[in-house]
Symmetry: C2
Subunit: 309 residues, 2 copies
């Protein structure tokens, strides 16, 4: 099964306790595409400028990413610059240059319209809605969003939410969107807006997922050497969707595996700058860490519970 990923491709300038890096390939759709590529074919729909290098194209093509939808237009690629605090717990945006991304209007080819698994990256909710209606072959659609759209485009976002299967957002955004601080209540409120699945990203604590079958909590893999958290959330979303496409069905069981695959990939992502660790990771490393996560959370059998019931 193929995954269609619509979103941003960017260059980031990163500053933090492990040093500075400039012109690092990034963007939500880039991280998500590389993450998903471990499990399924990926078609990337995004826009870049004339400055976008052949090396980045080759890297993505090498991961099996279909680049037919990667539009190249006059101008410069989206650029973001940020600085992380010494403990990596917070970051400050120093500069955002939308450049060619400002006039991004995704128009899908016929083959892309037939893609069953779709990720709507963090773009204007009206564009997200427009992509959904182009995706005639869609079977499962996930979306991300951010505080900027929650505050400034709430009505458009609410309309988009009625047409997606899963919303993947961070905890603070979930609280802002729902108006509820308690995470159970926040998820209930968001599910009432449309998406039957709400996956809430909690950074170093992992993810909590609310779906019709119940609640699933997946802790983050405890990473000893975090170098750069950029893109971890997008990597989670891409790995999640890529695994579901690989499983080619969305069941309570495949959803849970997909969430753990997403957290596993995110744990690799943060171990180096940008995509540096993610592009090197192997499927056997992913499987080993997935197994380790299973051990990290394992505790109970019915026999053991019976001891004190």
């Amino acid at each position: 099964m193929t995954v269609l990923i619509v979103g941003s491709v960017a260059f980031d300038d990163l500053d933090g306790p492990h040093g500075k890096r400039t012109d690092v390939l990034g963007g939500s759709a880039t991280y998500a595409s590389v993450a998903a590529s471990f499990f399924s074919r990926v078609a990337l729909v995004a826009v870049v400028g004339e400055d976008f290098p052949e090396s980045a194209m080759s890297m993505l093509a090498g991961k099996g990413v279909d680049l037919v939808g990667l539009e190249r237009v006059p101008g410069r690629t989206f650029r973001w610059s940020g600085r992380y605090s010494d403990d990596l717990a917070s970051r400050t945006t120093l500069d955002t240059q939308l450049n060619v991304f400002e006039s991004f209007r995704p128009a899908l080819s016929d083959s892309h319209r037939a893609t069953p698994y779709v990720m709507l990256g963090n773009i204007h909710p009206t564009l997200q809605r427009d992509v959904v209606s182009q995706c005639e072959g869609r079977r499962f659609v996930i979306a991300d969003t951010m505080n900027f759209w929650i505050e400034g485009q709430n009505a458009a976002l609410r309309e988009t939410l009625r047409h997606i299967d899963a919303l993947v957002i961070n905890e603070e955004e979930a609280r802002m969107l729902s108006g509820a601080h308690n995470i159970v209540r926040a998820a209930e409120a968001i599910r009432a807006m449309g998406p039957r699945i709400v996956a809430i990203k909690r950074g170093e604590y992992g993810a909590i997922v609310f779906e019709p079958d119940g609640v699933f909590v997946a802790p983050a893999y405890p990473v000893r050497d975090v170098v750069d958290p950029t893109g971890a959330g997008d990597t989670f979303a891409g790995g999640f969707l890529g695994y579901l496409a690989h499983a080619s069905e969305v069941t309570p069981a495949t959803l849970r595996h997909a969430v753990v695959v997403g957290t596993t990939l995110a744990s690799f992502c943060v171990e180096d700058f940008g995509l540096d660790r993610l592009v090197r990771v192997t499927r056997s490393e992913i499987a080993a860490r997935y197994r380790e996560l299973a051990r990290i959370v394992h505790f109970a059998t019915e026999d053991e519970v019976a001891r004190f019931a």
Copy 2:
């Protein structure tokens, strides 16, 4: 097996989004004793004033708590007053009156000295150390501490840490004690100070436990109606130790069950003011929520991993 719990018994005035309550029975040793009492006999060592009511004695006795070590002296019982933010995410101390607790010097009876499982509540580290040396029959000792001792009595605390098996502290304190923000590094540093087990409480995210056998992560049970978080951490510690005493051995497996029992009890604790929910909970309710936690984190079998390895 019996658990010895040394710490504070107090009355709290609580203010938060669910209203005000005054003269609520509290204190770290009280919460821990009630929590431990579900699984083992408990001996409480603490001090109260002349204002300590018969009703509180009866409640504890009704839970099978041995009150021989609950000293009653002239003066008033320890009092704490605090206000929670509307989202319950933070709290402000409005007033602390140590009263009789100020001159608390725990002197153990012969039978208490023989107790195998010991919890050193959050008292001066030198007193904690003194209790340990009195506990001639000790097999497993856990301790709590706080920022006040980490900053003001660091050398004494370091000495105490050399004589305990497990430190149970919150995330912020673990960072302060270790000087490391990364939780894996923080736990490594603290284990190098003495305790072979470091259990880090993460509030609504649950607990992460580092021990010689590896890392264990137990998410908190997702509570929909949090009324009062007071005492949740002490309830966790008491339930943890009470379960270990019940299992009467500390193995990687019983440690994990004990952690989940602790988070389960803590999830009940926050559902009402003070001890109101905890005193009413039944062992079958505890077992049911424990089973639910097992379902909440379950995801993997080796077969499923093999699909993508």
